[in-house]
Structure formats: structure tokens, C-alpha cells
């Protein structure tokens, strides 16, 4: 039964300066199936999808849709071929409304004038059909991440996409939102849509996929199905070696409290209370995990500790230093390292080169100086060491950071922060968007720091990560810490319940 695939990509090759991003890749998708692309950071998944969507041109290879050769040279022609894409980084205009975002680029029934009423009506139809609740008249910046995701899917459905690409759609979603998304995607495949799914979370891949294709260094290394494989096998196919999915944690004596939060209250961006009377100690040699659905005050709390946001009440101390409403420089001077949630906005400067970003927090360090000038030889050696150690995939040390793949930017920030010999680490979503191999490494580094007596506060929405690493777990809901549990007595169910405010 050789059905013509909905999509077939043949022998696609794409190079960027210094990088072979896709190496003779062939890949196909049938109507009604979910075909997952799996691969490490920088393996070339997004590149392949951007070629399919007309954002990049391949150096060689061809694309066929429904058996016919398709010359896709722009997003417009991809859309005409009924290909839709939900990008790894949202492609929404925050100041425009949902309806305007959906209508962008489409002809209006009223010619020169927009026809947003009709667009809104159709959006409501689609959202009823698939249970994608969203208000067409609201501006994007007012929406939660999960809602924005829905808008992205509606954008594709509105254009009658028969083939939908979802590039890491779940990276920023809560477990509940992921479940909801999967229901919608299943409904779409039942209606005949073909879906390409990308995710680093193996349990999701096993749950949703019909077929799985693995990329490594730009080339296809194998194909499988969920029935024929398990997490461990998938991880090894991706990385090419054995992978430890849960880190070994040696027993470490809990030392004195190093980070002390007392009755901290913080206002959010819209002036409402975001963090409400939070008290928490993090001791030397322990990892405290903050679990919770994002948007419950974790980001504001993290920013307050890091000196990026002022507290309205309470105090923050590291060891014996009072750092309440101190500047980021003062907080760092006290031995604090910070891996922010928004890596591109708060963690790295996109236009800067890789080595510059690696130097961002210690460019004043005398060891990198020659008199008043930088000692570039030393800086290069230092950067090269970090890049090697954290296996940051970059063509050169002078590559602009914004061209690295998402996961590699995360590794770069991790490398810089962990290398600063901190006494307290705050890591927010440390492995979001990071591949299995790199996540393993980041986890082992955090465990290593813990053994060295560092106090680690880790914010994560990923319960596996929390349960795998934390010694104590604090659950945040509605700005409050609703419970603090020792790891031994924590269960997935109890945490889930507390995260939902129960």
C-alpha cells in the first residue's frame, strides 16, 4: 500500500557559514499522522522546517507536496501549498489583536479596508471546533504563553493548513496545556492533517508520535515508532551514546542557610501582587526546586532575588549580606549566579559574539586584562574552554550569539554562570529547550555544584526535573509558597495537586 505522502523532502542539504545544518536529509509525512523530528540542539531540525516553510532556500534537494514538486521560495508560497508552521519562537505581533495577527498577510474581503469582524467570526468557529478558546479582540501582549500558542495554531488552521509544523510547541507549556494541545492535534490528524512535531521531551514524543525520525549533526541517523522504542533508546539514538536520564546524586550534608528569603512581597508588571509573603531558605549543599505552573510569581521572585526588580516588603540575604533591593552587581558580588528564564532577553546579548557573551559577567576580572586593555588571547582560551566543556555548538567563537540554536544559547549561559564559582545559584527552567545530552550535562553540573556546597534554587515547570534533582520542593501558587516538601515524601500526584492550588 504505497500511498503518496502528503510531504516528501528529498536529499535536502543546507549550509550556513561554517555549519552543515542539513546533510542530505530525506523525510516524509502522510496525511493523518504525527511524524516527530528528534535531535540534539543544533541538529538541524528548525533549519529543515524553515526550508519547508520557505524561510531558507536549500543548497540542493527537492520538496514534493502530494507528489508534485513544490518550489517553496517564501512563506507566502508555503501557505499557498497549505503548509502551516508554529515557530520555535512565537511569530506574533504583541501590539496587534488576535484577529489582526490572524488576518495579517491575507487579502481582505473589503479590499483596502480590514475586515476584522468576519475574521473574528471565523476564528470563533475554529476555536469552537477545536476547543481553542481565545478572544479575537484582545491584544497578544495580554495573553499567557499557552493562549499565544493557541493563536499560532489558529493562524495555521485559518489558512486551511493540511500540513502543520510545530517546532517545540510544548517547551513553554504547562503539563495541563500540553495535554490540551495533544487533544487538539489528535483531532486535527483525525481530520486528515499531517503534523510534524519537534520536542526534546521524550515522554511527549512517545505519547504523540506515529513515527519518529532522528537527526544528528544535520543527517538522519534513523527512524522508529513509539511501539519499537523507549526513552532510553531514543536518547541514545539522538546522542549516539548511553545517556543517564536521571542524575546520580551523592548524599551531601545540608549546611547553613545561604540564601534567605523573609516575607518577600513583590508587585508584577501590571501592578498587582505577584509574590505574596514568601519565606524560604536554601542551604549550602542542597537543591531546592520551585515547582508550579508558570505565571504564579516564579519569574518575579527570581528577578527580585537577582536584583532586577524591587520588593515591596520583606528581605533577601545571601550568607550574612542583606541584599534586599540591591543592584544586580551587588548581588553578583555576593556570589550569586543567575540563569534567567528568558534567555534571549535577560541572559545573553544576541548581537554579541559567543566569546563576548561568555565574558559578560566578568569582563572586569583582572585576569582578562593587560593593563587597561583586554587580553584577547586569555579571553579566547577561556571561551574555548567553556564552549568545549559545555559542548556549545558554534562554528566559531566570534559567531553572533543569535544565530545559535535555542538550546545552545541556553548552554552558553549555563557555562558562563556555573563557571563564576558562585555560592548561590538561581536557575530558572535550566533545561528548557535543551536536548537530552545537554540536559544530562547541565544536571550533572548542578549536582556537582551542590556537592561543592553551593546553595541552588531551581525554578522548573518540568516535574521530572524537579523530582530528579531537588532535595526539597516548594510549590508556588498564586504568588505564595503553598507547601514545602522533602523529596522523599513528594509524589507526582501531590505536587500536581498543590500546583493547581488544591
Amino acid at each position: 500500500m504505497e500511498r503518496t505522502p502528503l510531504l516528501s523532502m528529498h536529499n535536502i542539504t543546507k549550509t550556513f557559514p561554517g555549519v552543515l545544518a542539513n546533510d542530505d536529509v530525506s523525510f516524509d509525512v502522510h496525511s493523518g499522522e504525527v511524524h516527530t523530528l528528534l535531535g540534539e540542539n543544533g541538529a538541524g531540525k528548525s533549519t529543515l522546517m524553515k526550508i519547508l516553510f520557505g524561510l531558507y532556500q536549500p543548497d540542493s534537494g527537492e520538496i514534493r507536496l502530494r507528489g508534485e514538486i513544490a518550489a517553496i521560495d517564501s512563506p507566502t508560497s508555503a501557505i499557498e501549498h497549505r503548509v502551516g508552521m508554529v515557530h520555535q519562537h512565537f511569530m506574533l505581533v504583541p501590539t496587534l489583536t488576535v484577529a489582526e495577527n490572524v488576518a495579517l498577510g491575507l487579502p481582505s474581503a473589503r479590499g483596502f479596508r480590514t475586515d476584522l469582524d468576519a475574521v473574528s467570526e471565523r476564528i470563533l468557529e475554529i476555536s469552537n471546533q477545536y476547543g481553542l478558546a481565545v478572544d479575537p479582540g484582545i491584544e497578544i501582549w495580554k495573553l499567557s504563553v499557552g493562549e499565544r500558542q493557541r493563536v499560532e495554531i489558529i493562524k495555521a488552521l485559518y489558512r486551511d493548513a493540511e500540513l502543520l509544523v510545530l517546532d517545540e510547541p510544548t517547551a513553554v507549556l504547562t503539563p495541563q496545556e500540553v495535554d490540551d494541545l495533544f487533544v487538539i492535534l489528535r483531532q486535527m490528524t483525525n481530520d486528515g492533517t499531517g503534523i510534524i512535531f519537534i520536542s526534546h521531551k521524550l515522554h511527549e514524543v512517545l505519547e504523540l508520535s506515529d513515527r519518529i525520525t532522528v537527526l544528528r549533526n544535520g543527517a538522519v541517523t534513523g527512524s522508529t515508532t513509539p511501539a519499537e522504542s523507549d526513552r532510553q533508546q531514543l536518547a541514545e539514538m539522538m546522542v549516539g551514546r548511553e545517556v543517564k536520564l536521571a542524575p546520580d546524586k551523592p548524599a551531601v550534608d545540608r549546611g547553613p542557610a545561604r540564601l534567605q528569603l523573609r516575607n518577600v512581597s513583590v508587585k508584577g508588571d501590571r501592578g498587582t501582587v505577584a509574590v505574596d509573603d514568601v519565606s524560604l531558605d536554601v542551604h549550602a549543599g542542597e537543591i531546592v526546586g520551585i515547582a508550579g505552573v508558570s505565571g504564579n510569581g516564579q519569574r518575579e521572585l527570581a528577578e527580585t532575588i537577582a536584583g532586577l526588580r524591587n520588593a515591596q516588603g520583606g528581605s533577601v540575604r545571601i550568607d550574612s549580606t542583606d541584599l534586599t533591593n540591591a543592584s544586580p552587581a551587588e548581588v553578583r558580588a555576593a556570589g550569586f549566579a543567575y540563569v534567567p528564564e528568558e534567555r534571549m532577553k535577560d541572559g545573553a546579548v544576541g548581537e554579541f559574539e559567543v566569546s563576548e557573551n561568555l565574558l559578560l559577567i566578568n569582563h572586569g576580572d583582572p585576569q582578562f586584562r593587560k593593563g587597561p586593555l583586554f587580553d584577547f588571547a586569555k579571553i579566547r582560551a577561556h571561551s574555548q574552554r567553556l564552549v568545549d566543556q559545555f559542548s556549545v555548538k558554534t562554528p566559531t567563537l566570534d559567531t553572533p550569539t543569535s544565530t545559535l540554536s535555542g538550546g545552545n544559547i541556553q548552554k552558553l549561559i549555563m557555562a558562563r554562570e556555573l563557571d563564576s564559582s558562585p555560592t548561590v545559584i538561581l536557575a530558572a527552567q535550566p533545561t528548557r529547550g535543551v536536548d537530552i545530552g545537554a540536559a544530562e550535562y547541565i544536571h550533572s553540573q548542578l549536582v556537582q555544584q551542590r556537592s561543592d556546597g553551593v546553595a541552588i534554587l531551581m525554578v522548573s515547570e518540568d516535574l521530572d526535573e524537579i523530582l530528579g534533582l531537588a532535595d526539597r520542593i516548594a510549590v508556588m501558587f498564586d504568588g505564595k509558597i503553598v507547601t514545602v516538601i522533602e523529596r522523599e515524601s513528594a509524589t507526582r500526584e501531590a505536587l500536581g495537586l498543590a500546583m493547581a492550588g488544591g
Partner: protein, 317 residues
């Protein structure tokens, strides 16, 4: 002092203010469209100077204000083509390209003036409504009305056009597909591009609209003053750019800023002529607009966020 506060003097000053506001308004409205699409044009003042000279020369030669307006628009369009090609298609830096346009306009308008005219000859001033050839009679009684006469009717047609452009530009930005594209490419060009909106074309057209209006602003200025001289604008184009920030990229607030400038300028001139400001201090008084601009930018502009992609060139790779 009391002379200034007689009702008729106040209304006459306000009437002049409205007229003075017009070049600011044309230029700033055009710059608003450009900036909403993500393009800053610092060359506005230079385009105004060239448009101003074009209009002045056309009227000098033909005595036709219509040809003057057309000359201003055409010069603006031409300069927009240059600026658009350089910044959108050749990805040049907007800041320095705009300065280049300004310097070219400043120098070239003066060169043309010296070569083609030499000594400043006045031209026929822009007629007010009641001085228009065919329909003037209709407006004569209206201009005589108290209050509304000087405020609303004692103006030239371009003044009306400028203020009508305020709702028109608002409508363009809010209610048309083009305006939606403009806002999208000024905020997140990648997103617009991913939906098949041509970032280059949208920005190019926005630049053309902006610079054409800058040309018209210059034409209005030289025809209202009925004269041309070196650096006639004296920085009006730069203030118009500042007014876009001042007005938070909203046409109605941009208009408020333009009116404020009109009032400041008219009041200063009136006070000088009434000797309220001593002659020695007139240079200081002439700085008032600059001081207001700086204060306004410090106090207001830091609070509102402009188009996120402003001044950022776009390319896919």
C-alpha cells in the same frame, strides 16, 4: 503687557499658531507612518528644504500655488525613493543615511537657490480661503465671524488639509490592511514576514508617504512665508521627528505637539513685536522650542514604548 491680553490679540495669535503648526504637522504625520513601520528618517529637514525650494521656485516662475504644491510633493517622493532604496533594499543604517539626506537637502537647496534665484524675491503668498479666486466670496462673511472666524476660517487650504490628515492617518493605520501591515512590520517584522507580508514593500511605501509629506511640509512653509532662504526650516524637520516621540506615535498627540509648537512660535513673535521680550533676550526666547522638546522627551517619551523594531533593518538570514 496688557495689550497682549486683549481678546482680539489672543485670537489673532492663536490663528497664527494654527498656521505655524502646519509644516510641523505634515512632516510629523509622515514621519509617524514611517516610524510605525520601523523606519526612522532623520532626513526630514533636508527633504523639507528641497521641497520648500521646489515649491518656491515653481511659484516664482509660474505664479501657481498648485504647481508649487506639486513640486513639493514630487521632490519629497524623489527623496523618499532614494532613502527607501538605501535603507530598505541596501540595508544601510537608518541614522547615518538620514543625516546624509539632511546634509544633501541643506546644501543642495541652497546651491539651487544661489544658482537659479540669487537674491531672495518674495512670491505671492498662499491665499486664505476668502482670497481664493472662484469661491472666495462664500468665505468672506465666515472669516468676519467672531472667534471662529480667525480660528477656523482665516486659513489657507493646506492648513485644512493638514488637520484633515490627522483622522486620515489614524484611519489608515487602524482600519486598513496596509496600516495593519505597517504596525506589524514596525513591531515584529519576522512575524509579518512569516505570514507573507512583504516587510520591504511595506516599509518602502511608508517611507514614500513620510517623505512626500515632508516635501509638502517644506512647500507649505515657503509658500506661507512667501520667501526662500538658506536653511529656511531652521530645524523644523528635526523637531517634527521629535514630535513623533512626543506624540507617542499617535496622530492626535502628534497634532497636539505640532499645535504646541505653533503656539510657542506665534507667541514668541508676538511678544517680541510688542516688546514684552526685550530685543536682547530674543535669542534666548528662540530657544524655547528646543527646551520644550527636550523636557517633553525626557518626561513623556521615556514612558511610552515605540515600535519595537524601530531603526532595525530586516533580512531573513
Amino acid at each position: 503687557m496688557s495689550e497682549f491680553f486683549t481678546v482680539s490679540v489672543i485670537f489673532a495669535t492663536l490663528s497664527t499658531s494654527i498656521r505655524f503648526a502646519v509644516p510641523y504637522l505634515f512632516a510629523a504625520l509622515g514621519e509617524t507612518v514611517g516610524q510605525r513601520s520601523g523606519v526612522l528618517n532623520l532626513g526630514v529637514d533636508g527633504i523639507m528644504l528641497l521641497g520648500g525650494f521646489g515649491a518656491y521656485y515653481a511659484v516664482l516662475e509660474t505664479d501657481s500655488h498648485i504647481l508649487g504644491v506639486i513640486a513639493g510633493l514630487a521632490v519629497g517622493l524623489l527623496m523618499g525613493l532614494v532613502y527607501g532604496v538605501v535603507t530598505v533594499f541596501l540595508h544601510a543604517k537608518q541614522g547615518i543615511s538620514g543625516i546624509g539626506i539632511f546634509l544633501f537637502g541643506l546644501g543642495f537647496s541652497d546651491l539651487l537657490f544661489q544658482e537659479l534665484v540669487g537674491t531672495p524675491l518674495p512670491i505671492r503668498p498662499l491665499p486664505r480661503l476668502d482670497q481664493l479666486p472662484a469661491v472666495g466670496g462664500i468665505f468672506e462673511p465666515l472669516v468676519e465671524l467672531p472667534v471662529v472666524g480667525p480660528l477656523i476660517f482665516d486659513h489657507d487650504l493646506l492648513t485644512f488639509l493638514a488637520f484633515l490628515l490627522v483622522p486620515a492617518v489614524t484611519w489608515l493605520l487602524r482600519k486598513t490592511t496596509f496600516g495593519m501591515n505597517v504596525r506589524a512590520v514596525g513591531e515584529n517584522p519576522q512575524a509579518a514576514d512569516s505570514l507573507g507580508v512583504s516587510v520591504a514593500r511595506t516599509r518602502f511605501i511608508s517611507i514614500l508617504i513620510g517623505s512626500t509629506l515632508a516635501g509638502l511640509a517644506g512647500a507649505t512653509l515657503s509658500m506661507q512665508l512667501a520667501i526662500f532662504q538658506q536653511n529656511l526650516t531652521n530645524g523644523i524637520g528635526f523637531i517634527a521627528v521629535a514630535l513623533v516621540y512626543f506624540g507617542a506615535w499617535q496622530p492626535r498627540w502628534v497634532m497636539a505637539g505640532a499645535l504646541l509648537y505653533g503656539i510657542v512660535t506665534a507667541t514668541r513673535i508676538r511678544w517680541q513685536s510688542l516688546d514684552i521680550i526685550p530685543q536682547g533676550a530674543s535669542d534666548v526666547a528662540a530657544m524655547a522650542p528646543a527646551v520644550i522638546t527636550i523636557l517633553a522627551l525626557v518626561l513623556l517619551a521615556s514612558r511610552v514604548r515605540g515600535p519595537a523594531a524601530l531603526t532595525r533593518p530586516f533580512s531573513r538570514h
